[in-house]
Structures are given as structure tokens and as C-alpha cells.
């Protein structure tokens, strides 16, 4: 568990906050997301130069060996600034899977990732799988010289810009069996791969990927044949915590924007903030944020020390909570901003959209509540 931060951790958070305040204000962020590719290669290079891409990667793979708490501190700052760069896709998901699945390949790939020179994406979810991780129907069949992939991967986060896709596919078992799922490393420009790419509603990038007889060599297999699900679940659990930390940052920024607005906007001759009913609602928003923050870091502290059901349960609890609390804070913030909250020019709506889409990434509040109930 983590209830206090070390000096190093505070300095890390402060330095990220300072960098983002300087280079990633709301206007700059909008320019970035509307620009080529939807995110900034320059900013990514600076993240790399500052060591932020290396921080969550283990030392033996060329990283700095940061903890999940360190990762959460970074994600919280990214949430405050609504960072759109492919950090979750490449670092939280991609690098972590490679490291867990195949240390030998990790030693080869991750130094490039940490240097900002190689982008990853995790292609797992499918049109009918929703949030069920074992439900994989993309097929990998053995060919003369390797494997042939066929299937459809849905809403792959930053799947448009990845140099390498990590693709889950069935090499055995059927439908939702735990066994029989294998991971493959597939070049982003592989022949037979059709990408439908799009911006997402919250300003990120996504892609639907159709694999139509995509051929890869025998060395494309990442880790053990048929036993990828444990790794996928572990990485997804940790991603839930990272996304929750991002959500906590977005919630805090949303509360700050809302209280500022309540202080400055006048109606009926008084600032909105002078109306008690609105004060109480702002306090409720802040309260949700404080509780979510505490739970998030407690969970982050646990992630590196526990496994199995305990880890899964902790991850589901924070993801369910961030889904519920993030929705409450986002909806209230828009409501308290009145008509202004509905406009694209105000930042508050963008935080609201990110909070709602964090909920539909790796399982919404309802899904995780059911998962918790199922574990009891």
C-alpha cells in the first residue's frame, strides 16, 4: 500500500506537471490532437529524453524500474493535461506485455521503446468480446513458414501508428477457453492487414484491424504458446490502475475548473458559488475525487506485491470506482457550467469525455462490479 510519496516521487510528479503546464496547455493540446496523426512526435521525443518512457520499464530491459505507484503519478499528470500521446498503448500495455511474456525479446525491443523510437499497440479486444479477456476468436494457423492470422480486432488504442502490433490469437481451444491464446508480434504494415483508423471521441486515436491471411514468421510468437491469458489479465489489471490514475488527474482538473467557474460566473447578481446548493455539489465532486485518489494509490501500491485473485479484485475495485466517480464528476461539472459546459471551446467537456471513455476501456463500472461479485 502507498499512503505517502517519497521525495523522488514528488519531484517526478512536479517535473511532469511543470513540463505539461509549459508545453501542453489546453490550446496546445487541441492543436496537437488536430494535427498530423493526432499526437506529437516532438513531445514523444521529449518524454523519451526526460526518461519518462523508460521509467516504468524494468532495469534489465533498459528501463529505470519504476513501480506502479510511479506509473500512477505519471498518469495522474497526463490526466490533468489530457495527454493524447500513445503512452498507454506503447508503455502501459505494449512494453509490459513484451516484458512479461518474453524477457529475451524484451531485452531486444524495449530499449528502443524507452528511447521513443519504437511504438507498440495491443490488439486484443474483438467486436463480440466486449470486456471479456478470454474471448478471442482471431485465429492463428500454422503455415509452411510460420503462422497465418485471420480475424478482426476492435478499437485498438493507437493501432494506427504502432510499429509493432501485439496480437492475441487462438492457436487452440475455442471461444472463451482460457487456454489456447497465443501472442504474436506483427509489423504495423504487414501484408494482408487492413486498418480502419479514426480519432476517438475523447481526442485519442484508435483503429479496427482486419487480419486477412496475414503471414508472420515462427519468431513472431511472443512467449509461451497457448498460455497468454495470464499475462494479458495481469497487464490489463495494471492498465486499469494506470487508467484510474489518469482519471483521478482528470477529475481533479475538472473540480478545479468548476470551482473557478462558480467563483467567476454571476447569475441573479451573485457569483454562482454563493448558492448553497451549488456549493454542496462542488464539495461532493471534490469528495469523490479525494476518495478516488486515495483508493487509486492504495491499489497502485498493492499491484507490485500481490497476484492472482487479490490483484484482480483490487484492479476491478478501482476501475469500477473510477467509472462511477468519474461519471459523476464529469456530468456535474458540465451541469454546473450550464450552456458553457456544452461547448467544445471549454476544457471541461473534454475532461468529461475522457472520463467517460476511460470507463469503456478495459471494462466499465458495471463489468468490474460483476467481476468483483463473481470473485466473492
Amino acid at each position: 500500500m502507498s499512503f505517502t510519496f517519497t521525495d523522488d516521487q514528488r519531484q517526478l510528479a512536479d517535473s511532469i506537471a511543470r513540463f505539461l503546464a509549459d508545453k501542453y496547455g489546453f490550446e496546445q493540446r487541441n492543436k496537437i490532437r488536430k494535427g498530423d496523426g493526432g499526437w506529437s512526435r516532438e513531445i514523444w521525443a521529449e518524454f523519451a529524453a526526460l526518461g519518462w518512457l523508460a521509467l516504468p520499464i524494468a532495469e534489465e530491459h533498459g528501463g529505470l524500474g519504476g513501480t506502479t505507484v510511479d506509473l500512477a503519478l505519471m498518469m495522474e499528470q497526463f490526466g490533468k493535461a489530457l495527454v493524447v500521446e500513445p503512452f498507454v498503448a506503447t508503455i502501459v500495455l505494449g512494453a509490459e506485455i513484451v516484458a512479461k511474456a518474453d524477457p529475451a525479446r524484451a531485452a531486444e525491443i524495449l530499449p528502443q521503446v524507452a528511447a521513443g523510437e519504437h511504438l507498440l499497440a495491443f490488439a486484443h479486444s474483438e467486436p463480440n468480446s466486449r470486456y471479456d479477456l478470454p474471448r478471442v476468436s482471431t485465429m492463428a494457423t500454422q503455415g509452411d513458414e510460420g503462422w497465418i492470422l485471420d480475424g478482426h480486432k476492435a478499437v485498438v488504442l493507437h493501432g494506427d501508428s504502432a510499429d509493432t502490433l501485439i496480437v492475441s490469437a487462438r492457436t487452440g481451444g475455442r471461444d472463451d477457453e482460457r487456454d489456447g491464446i497465443t501472442l504474436f508480434l506483427v509489423p504495423g504494415d504487414a501484408e494482408g492487414l487492413t486498418k480502419k483508423t479514426y480519432p476517438t471521441i475523447d481526442g485519442m486515436r484508435g483503429a479496427d484491424l482486419e487480419f486477412d491471411g496475414v503471414r508472420v514468421g515462427p519468431d513472431a510468437v511472443l512467449g509461451e504458446m497457448g498460455h497468454a491469458l495470464d499475462i494479458v489479465e495481469g497487464v490489463a489489471d495494471r492498465a486499469c490502475v494506470a487508467l484510474a490514475a489518469e482519471g483521478v488527474g482528470a477529475m481533479q482538473a475538472t473540480v478545479d475548473l468548476t470551482t473557478d467557474y462558480l467563483k467567476t460566473r454571476t447569475q441573479f447578481g451573485k457569483p454562482l458559488g454563493s448558492f448553497q446548493v451549488l456549493q454542496h455539489r462542488a464539495v461532493d465532486m471534490l469528495s469523490e475525487t479525494r476518495f478516488a485518489h486515495a483508493l487509486c494509490y492504495r491499489t497502485a501500491g498493492l499491484m507490485d506485491t500481490v497476484g492472482g485473485v487479490e490483484r484482480a479484485r483490487a484492479a476491478s475495485i478501482i476501475k469500477a470506482e473510477i467509472g462511477r466517480a468519474g461519471k459523476m464528476v464529469g456530468e456535474e461539472a458540465v451541469q454546473l457550467h450550464g450552456g458553457m459546459g456544452m461547448t467544445d471551446e471549454m476544457a471541461v467537456g473534454h475532461y468529461f469525455k475522457r472520463l467517460r471513455l476511460i470507463d469503456v476501456t478495459f471494462g466499465n463500472a458495471g463489468h468490474h462490479l460483476s467481476r468483483i461479485v463473481g470473485m466473492a
Binding site: P127, R130, I201, Q335, G339, D344, F352, R356, V360, T361
Partner: protein
Amino acid sequence: MDVVLSPEEEAFRQEVRAFLAEKLPADIAEKTGNGFRISKQDHVRWQKILHEKGWIAPNWPAELGGTGWTPMQKHIFDEECALAGAPMVIPFGVTMVAPVIMKFGNEAQKERFLPRILSSDDWWCQGYSEPGSGSDLASLRTKAVLDGDHYVVNGQKTWTTLAQHADWMFTLVRTQDTGKPQEGITFLLIDMKSPGISVHPITTLDGSAEINSVFLEDVRVPVENRIGEEGKGWTYAKYLLGHERTSIAAVGRSKAQLRKLKGIAKVELAGGKPIIEDPDYARRLAQIEIDLLSLESLVLRTLYAESEGKPVGAEPSFLKIKGTQIQQGLTELLMEAIGPYAAPYQPEAFRDEGWNEEPVGPDYGPALAPLYFNWRKASIYGGSNEIQKNILAKMVLGL
């Protein structure tokens, strides 16, 4: 959730249903059903079909071109239209300004404006809100100064829905700065083609631009376009707001949304089973159905009281709050129904221009998350739900 209908009412329902089956253009119904935007041409096309049948204005007295329907008939009509996928009749003309013109306008104004509202030859918008006056409408500052037989109007209106299409705007303007803020407000009808008017779209959360800022710079408005007396605009506006809030409950539309939601929940899978079988989702669906039934019950009671000539009182505020909560709850369940496919932003798939490509994700998917984000407006517009609660606290509780 059927209300028991009399044989006459049931016959009326069948008549409406048959009319819709025959006359509602399939392309328009399809757009409505998918949550795509309806173009101005489509709206006008449908409204002219209703007008031809004499059914465009259920809220008008029969002698002026209304239908003469009972409240129950109006309710049946709204519900059947929504279930058939008919676009809503744009309310600014028929539902909002027309009753004001009928009650407070002079004969010349009635003759000039009402027929063109009925025939949808004029498209109206509402110029009430201003950047500094949202819920506090009486603080509005757009100024109108009398100059001979014209008012010269200067100011800015905002949140002006569909102003980009409008021929006319009904506005509240300030003609007097002294006294209570409500007392210096005048109700003017402004020709949108007047020199000095400019309309600027406002992009909203969902990426659309249905609302606008309207700038008025030395706009000359003939005195003959003033409704009633100078300085009495507040009274007329309040009369209008009562009308708006009963329709804002939108029971028929919510029923149609619920039906659509159930259809989607039967085909969207979680854990290999339709989400309608998911206990959590099913309970939330059942709760919203209960809420909708209770909303409909109070709507019907209110309409019956109105038909018996009883004052409407505070009911519209209850209906507005509950109605918008249900609408928002439905959009939330719709967005959640498609899971990760809520994320792709595909505006070209739900805008009113033609689009023939396959969307990413299910066909019914692209409009759902934008609908959820867009519908946050419902608890803000038409007097925010907080304002409705203030009204109820005063009127009902005496606090």
C-alpha cells in the same frame, strides 16, 4: 406500459398509425431511427405532410388550424409519431411563438405569421439567452431603442438552436433599464434577413453545431413586430415557458428510445450472452422503464387537469426534471450497450449528409456516444433543472 384506451381512442391510434405507415418517408424514419441528424429539408418535407393532413398543430385551437384533439389524443399522436421514427416538429414556431402570437398578438400579426407557421414556410428560432444571462433570463442586456417607427436593436443572443436555418427569431430585448429587471423587457419578432444580424455556429461536446451565437448590430425592427405592450415581454415569455416544459417531458420519444435500447441489448453480447440478460444491465433497464411509466402517469394527469380548465401549476417543473433524467439515463444505457465501440468518433456517419460507407462497429453505433454527450444539454436548457427545483421549492413547498 399501455394505458387502457377507450374504443374511440384506440380507433384514433389506428388512424394515426395508418397515416404514419403511409405518409412518413422511409428515408427520414431511417435517419431518425439511427439517431442521425435530420436536415432542414427533411424537417420541412415532413412538416408539410403533417400540415396537408391538418395535424401539424395539435396544441392550437381548431378554428385557427389546430386539430381540436383531447389531451389523450395529443398524447397518442406524439407517441405514435415517436415510435414510427417521425422527426419531432421543430417547436419554435408551432409550439412556442404561435401561442404567444395567438394570445397577445394583434390581428395583423396573427394573419401575417400564423399561416406561414402552419405551412412551415417560416422557420423560427428563439432569441432568449445571452452570454451573461442563462438561467437568470431577466438579466438580459440586448438593447432596443425606439427610433421613430423602428426599434434599433444591439446585443448578442446565444444557444440559439437551429438559428442557421431561421427566417424569424422571437426575442426578448431590454427597452428600459430602471425598475425591476423583469419590467423593462419587450417581446420582438425579428426578421433574420435584417441587416446587422450575423449567425455564428457554436461547436458542442458531440462535435455538432446545432446551436449558435446571434449578433445584432443596429438591427432595425418595425414597431409592428412588437408583441403586445412595450415592457411586458416577461409576462408573455413566462406564458410560453409553461408550454415548452410540458413537451420537454418527451414521453413518446423516450418510449421509442427504450424500444431501440431493448433491441440493441438483445444483440450486443457480454460473456457470450445478450446484455439484456446481464443482471446489472437488466435491472437498470427495468428501473428506467418504471421511471418512464411514472412520468407518463403524471403527464396524463396534468393534461387531463388542463383539459378540465384547471391551472397547470408546478407540474411542468416536475415533468421537466424527471423527463430529462430519463432521457439522459436512456442515452447512457445506449452508449454503454456498445461497450468499446462507444469510442470511435465517426461524425460523417450520423450527420445529415449522405454517407454510404460502413461504420466501424455496429450500424447503430456511431450516433450513440455523441447522443449521450449532446443530451447533457437537456438538464440545462429550458430553465435548468436547478432552476426548476427553485420554482418547486417556492410554489409547492413555500420555501
